[in-house]
């Protein structure tokens, strides 16, 4: 008699783990940089569709985005050296990103022709998508060191539009699927867990634990947290805020990229599907107040489970409505908490 709830629970856990990776990326980025990245979900789509391209033996569109981004990077670096009146350095500054762009392009083209083992294709897709993290930071965030949080928010909406549109241009409106990392399934009472589910749980859990260790125990992790708490103080103690921002952006993109290759064997992927996944990650992140990673992860898992239960017991058509309505009581509780006037001030 507990079969259905148990099945729903595990289905919810599958989605919830994905939302948790997104939520964690959102919290890490927001804590360190104060930026909300609306385009968080687009990287899920990019990594998944990149794998699909590799499977077809075609060059994934992602590589063109990376190359274009690196060209812009070279341009920005050169400009800023020129402003410092160091033309020799300008040339040098431009050469490095351009060389990296050329190398990435050649590797990816070669990889798409060679019939690489599947796991290698997945690794390459995740790495290629993750490369967009530092690029996006350099090209979009870093040029405006003193802009308000509002401006950054609107800029990431621009990024979301551009990446969604490019996804449509490169891959078209049809859904893609990629094979599971491993076949087979295990029975767990009435629940059949596919091999991909186990991979998904395992990798998500490993990433969550790894990040917990990174932020809690290692020096770079602690430095990132310091930059999050007090930017000026971090700078005075030799922590580069730019570097911290870039690392945080990269980390959050990496989490999305991993989420993409984990979930697509189960659910398929369309050019605009990443956005919806990202938004559900936001619901989890909001439950954690945008700053508490542990509660954000639990909140995201709860979102995944609540989604499955409401789809089954209430209405499958309204499951998204119910998930997004969830933030209203969460925000209400946060609003009712007693705050000093200063604390709810920008």
């Amino acid at each position: 008699m507990f079969d259905i709830p148990l099945i729903l629970f595990f289905e919810g856990l599958t989605n919830g783990a994905i939302y948790a990776l997104m939520a964690l990326g959102i919290v890490v980025l927001y804590s360190v940089t104060g930026v909300i990245n609306v385009a968080q979900g687009e990287f899920v789509m990019l990594s998944a569709l990149t794998v699909a391209s590799f499977r077809e033996g075609s060059v994934p569109g992602t590589v063109y985005i990376v190359v274009a981004g690196l060209v812009l990077w070279a341009f920005y670096d050169a400009i800023s050296r020129l402003r410092e009146r160091r033309p020799g350095r300008a040339l040098l500054a431009a050469v490095v990103p351009l060389a990296v762009a050329a190398a990435i392009y050649l590797i990816v083209v070669a990889a798409s022709r060679a019939e690489l083992p599947y796991l290698a294709q997945i690794l390459l897709a995740v790495l290629l998508t993750t490369a967009l993290g530092p690029i996006a930071y350099r090209v979009i965030i870093q040029p405006l060191p003193r802009a308000s949080a509002l401006v950054f928010l609107i800029m990431t909406i621009g990024l979301h539009l551009a990446l969604t549109g490019l996804g449509l241009a490169f891959w078209g409106p049809q859904p893609y699927t990629i094979p599971p990392f491993q076949g087979g399934s295990v029975r767990f009472g009435a629940v059949f867990l596919e091999g991909q589910d186990l991979w998904l749980f395992g990798i998500s859990a490993a990433l969550l634990l790894g990040l917990w260790f990174f932020f809690g125990r290692t020096l770079p992790g602690k430095a990132l947290r310091a930059a999050a708490v007090n930017r000026l103080g971090a700078r005075l103690s030799g922590i580069s805020v730019v570097r911290a921002g870039s690392v945080a952006f990269t980390l959050s993109v990496f989490l999305s990229a991993v989420a993409g290759v984990l979930i697509t064997p189960i659910t398929k992927m369309v050019y605009d599907f990443g956005f919806l996944l990202g938004l559900k990650g936001f619901v989890g992140a909001i439950i954690g107040g945008l700053t508490n990673p542990a509660i954000a992860v639990l909140g995201a898992v709860f979102v995944g489970i609540a989604e499955q239960f409401s789809a089954f017991y209430i209405s499958s058509a309204y499951k998204d409505v119910l998930v997004f309505l969830l933030i209203i009581p969460v925000l209400l509780v946060r609003s009712l908490q007693h705050l000093d006037f200063e604390e709810h001030v920008e």
Binding site: Y30, I36, V38, I140, P143, L144, A147, S148, A149, L150, V151, L153, I154, M155, I157, G158, L159, H160, L161, A162, L163, T164, G165, L166, L168, A169, G172, P173, L279, F282, V283, I286, L290, S315, A317, Y318, D320, V321, F324, L325, I327, I328, L331, L332, R334, S335, H338, L339, D340, F341, E342, H344, V345, E346
Partner: protein, 602 residues
Amino acid sequence: MSAAMRAGVWLRGGLFVAFIALLIALPFTAGAFELRLANVIGMHALVALGLVLLTGYAGLASLGQAAFVGSGAYTAAILASSYGLNPWLSILAGMALSVVLAWLIGLVTLRLKGHFLALATLAWGLVITGVLRNWMSVTGGNTGFGSATGNRIPPLTIFGHELSGDRDYFILVWGCVLLALWLLTNLMRSRTGRAILSLRSGSVAAASFGVDVQRMKMLAFLLAALLASLSGGLHTYRELFIVPGLAGINASIDYLIMTVIGGLSSLWGAVAGAGIFILLKEQLQQVMPRFVGRSGNYEIIAFGFILILVLQYARRGLVPMLDSLLPPLPPRPIRPQAPPLPERATRATQGTLLELSHVTRSFGGLTAVNDLSFTVERGEIVGLIGPNGAGKTTAFNLVTGVLDIDSGAISFAGVPITRLPPHRIARLGLARTFQHLNLNPGMSLIENVALGAYSRTRAGLLAGMLGLDRAEEDSTRAEALRNLHRVGLGDDPFARADSLPLGKARLLEVARALIADPELLLLDEPAAGLRRHEKEELKALILRLKADGVTVLLVEHDMDVVMDLADRVVVMNHGNKLAEGSPAEVRRHPGVIEAYLGREVA
């Protein structure tokens, strides 16, 4: 008025006349397609005007304005079609429902940091579209609602004349746009508009003028929702057919893009941005698929890059940039003979004004202020001093209500203010300045000072929108000029605040505090960072104010300033009161010497 300013007036006047002439000429000359585009632009402009108010002026982002367009449109359509409500009333009902929904969202998000409103409105847009798509029996679902799906929406009528076709709607839509422009332009020049603008100089500053920050944020949010739902209602009757996409996240993002392009802080920018966006989208929808070789909404790629590039290289937007190319406008004149603003009714000259008794506040394990008691008598200058980390600033924040106290009580002029929010405390007659300047750098001196008059003036939202507040505005500006003179900045009232050196900027903050006619003036480290002659100027000013009967509580690091000015000094150390007395007494106090200079080596 200089020749350049005259040219500025004529050029802008000419542009305005040309714009109005274009609007008048369009219905007679334009074809059906152009008129239709003009109507689409007008309806988008209404939503964008709300976003300027909300995002540009109040500094709050909404990613769900389309949800209010949708709730306005669907409420009107459903009530008129299925329940036979009068079409005009149905538009009003749609606006009313949208405002109630906005109020509920505002209630749970506006107390939180700015990002929560953006995310909540984003989620709200998805909720509304989800309901519109799935509540088939009422909304018609994905196929839409209207005559094409068997729900006849009755037309709008004026005096028996049925409005139909884009020519009729052109007059209605653009009439609404011009009316909204006029009302909002008036609003932003009024007391309420200034209060909304003051949110940008920080909530603490705004509250220190007596502005109820939450209320002003809510007001901006509700007005934005009102305009969006009006646009939705007009859309319903112009098209007589509506689809859920009207409320969708992509539509919300469109509104944001056009507002950014035109200029987030420009009402005319909203209109221009809507025009540019709609025309550009029309073109891009033709051009972009040719690049890709497939049909699809590829224009979002271009708009994504446009959004990023505009924010990186032209953040103020198009209209403000063009405006700054034109010669400047003359400032609004000041009428010094305008009647003065009413003074505070009850002003005793003696007795205790401020009383702290056993006030304690800790942050986690650190007790920043411990069992602090002291009073400020009317007409006194009291100095609150102490070494770094003594708890002076915390004490200051407790008095102004910025921080809540853990235990103890504070009363002001006999009124307990322990649990009052900052703006209520300010309205009782307590005005302050800031150690880190909280001025509106882009505004003139006179406008900055006028911000401080909020608690002394009355004009409400409607009076401001309709321009019925002229007399009070004249008095406010005259009073602002008087207070600029009082601090010695009256010579150039139209200079921009960011043109002042630090010392003068401090004086400007004092003028802004004085215009509130305060009983108690709190100065937060006014001498910090000042040069010697600036300090002398400041000291002279404070003594003049004392002679005028202003009571002053001075939190200060600079011993010379405090010792020269204060009648009485309270010394804090490690959150405790260390000593209290006249400057001479305090100077001899062994504990004070130790706290400042360290223990003598025995």
